[in-house]
Symmetry: C2
Subunit: 376 residues, 2 copies
């Protein structure tokens, strides 16, 4: 399991691991993959702390940082500082939505605290708040890749990243989006099928991947959405992908910060227990279906707001989730892909990578044996 | 591209082609694959004519017949003859729904004729109407496989098919459904991802296939949903499938009866232009999104009925589609999977099979080269 992209990035296996946990970034890169830290939830100051910690622990291995600048969001044309934008957006959140969010939590016996830092958070969902994250990331030499999770990054950001000698990646859910990325000189296109956890489109991976490979060839494409084994990686590479972009699996490793109750929920879930819901971030995002997602799906209730307004409401649930994990799993934000149905236990990160490599060899061996038996 | 299942069935390639057109059945089997005739729309008398024609033209090659007995449908516990069941079900169709269906057609300038044979059709969607189809199929020695498109076939039907020396296959959309099939001694499990055309579930192929392979091993699994190239077949076989069950591609071959205007609509569509809709059959079924599907999705309009009642309404649109193909594409039933985005032109069936074999060899060669370069 080694592609030309591995040589370009100086890694052994083309396994890209998206995670919000610095420990997982380090464990993946040290095991021969490429860890990518999701930055959206960190303030610039927190991000600096995380990246310093990674630098200290990752040895000579490279890693990446993932940001979120959507192609469309509330306030995108406001041209304001991050603080002014936050204030302006906060004024757009209807009281009805805040009260409905508080009511869901209260109905489930969850203490509501949406004051202080928990109040109406903006996070890194905008160019104004993501740009400082990129500026910080580029001060860390081992960060060799910046990925944008939603849409083509702004041209000046691509230039800034390229000028600093790093690569740019961006996710897409259709060949048309892939074309926009390629035309903007995004180096690595990540094609994510609708099975995927977090923000995703509706086209399934088995259909999407080869279309995107064909659209942007010879630019390298990472296959995303539905990968949680070496069998699935073999399928992706057979269809022309240069590697795999994975997320859900890394919620189920010992190094992850996910709580035992959340990991138990993932272990129990089948592939039919996820839903694409706008109830946390304002854009369709795949997660475990629970009472928070159901409440916002009900047409009798307030409709989810757009990005980034909806998170200003749901942030209170996320904050409560972290503070009271055992009480809140039914209303918590549990992003994960349909591949969750494969996961039965929590493993060590290095053991996952080793297992995937073996499964990959088994899968490629299957095709070999069929060809040999057929006299090819 | 040859698996153990090919030897069991006496075919060259594990390419199973679902189609409503007898010409395509013949062309696929003669090209080394396995044609399967979808019987649901045929009366027993018509089916007998089709199978006789196939027998005359297919040479010594085997083929299959696909029926539809859902696990749940209106009237399933009625224990009535086909004629009585039809009468009983017709009485359950609300006038409001019939009038709404007529209005959609009239609004699009389509002449409505729902009298005579076009009135409130039952088709083969029930055990009472599918059983005669199976009885007829089993009188044709070259029919070596009976597949059920929705759910586990009734136990006495499985016994009847096995006693006649044929194999039984059944589609599923989850490992739990696959387990039910295997426990009922279904010989071949067809795992269809949510990308698929026609009736399908929600779990994507890349996630579903390996789960079903694991669940029913060593029973053979056919991968379905999203296959329209040899690259996708290679992905399926690498993940342990014994072959590919395909449908959408066969709408786009010269031998198909699909009209030029319908084929033009398929050629133009992207993978985002399909929808899982209950508006034709009463169960979620993937098809091109159009004004008929949109009308039934609108919450201000009547909700689709269950199976088989909804087809008693939509049958008038299907009949008009056949009679006035050029006028009705916006309200016609155009079942197809997301893989439609790959299709740009109409090909000969034999050329498709040949192309798929070459693409398969290319894809398996890709993995081979990666392994060789990595010194495996």
């Amino acid at each position: 399991m080694h592609t030309a992209l591995c040589d370009e990035l100086g890694i052994e296996f083309p396994i890209f691991a998206f995670t919000h946990c610095r420990d997982v970034v380090v464990a993946v890169s040290k095991a021969g993959g490429f860890g990518v830290l999701g930055a959206v939830g960190f303030t610039p100051e927190q991000l600096e702390i995380e990246l310093n910690w990674i630098d200290e622990h990752i040895g000579d291995h490279p890693y990446g940082v993932d940001i979120v600048i959507p192609n469309k969001y509330e306030g995108m044309d406001a041209n304001m500082s991050a603080d002014d934008l936050k204030g302006m957006l906060q004024s757009l959140v209807p009281q009805e939505h805040l009260e409905f969010g508080r009511k869901i939590l209260a109905d489930h016996g969850v203490p509501v605290d949406d004051s202080g830092d928990n109040a109406l958070q903006l996070l890194g969902w905008t160019e104004a708040t993501a740009t400082p994250q990129v500026q910080i990331a580029l001060q860390h030499p081992k960060v060799t890749l910046i990925a944008n999770a939603l849409g083509t990054p702004p041209a000046d950001m691509i230039k800034m990243i390229h000028d600093s000698g790093r690569k740019v990646a961006a996710l897409c859910g259709s060949p048309a989006q892939a074309r926009k990325h390629a035309d903007a000189d995004v180096d690595i296109i990540i094609a994510q099928g609708g099975e995927g956890g977090g923000h995703c489109g509706e086209v399934g991976s088995i259909v999407l991947w080869p279309q995107v490979v064909k659209e942007v060839a010879p630019r390298p494409v990472l296959a995303a959405g539905g990968i949680g084994s070496g069998y699935q990686i073999a399928a992706a590479l057979a269809m022309g992908a240069a590697g795999a972009w994975t997320g859900s699996q890394w919620l189920m490793v010992e190094e992850a910060e996910n709580t035992p109750v959340q990991q138990a929920a993932y272990a129990k879930a089948s592939s039919r227990d996820t839903v694409r819901s706008r109830s946390f971030t304002g854009k369709p995002c795949r997660m475990l279906r629970n009472e928070w997602t159901e409440a916002w799906e009900n047409p009798d209730n307030p409709k989810p707001l757009g990005m980034p307004l909806q998170y200003m409401v749901s942030g209170m649930a996320v904050a409560a989730t972290h503070k009271y994990p055992n009480e809140t799993v039914d209303v918590a934000f549990n992003p994960v892909g349909q591949v969750v149905g494969q996961f039965e236990k929590v493993e060590k990160t290095a053991a996952v990578i080793e297992r995937w490599v073996q499964e990959y060899l088994e899968a490629s061996g299957t095709l070999n044996e069929l060809n040999e038996a057929a006299g090819v």
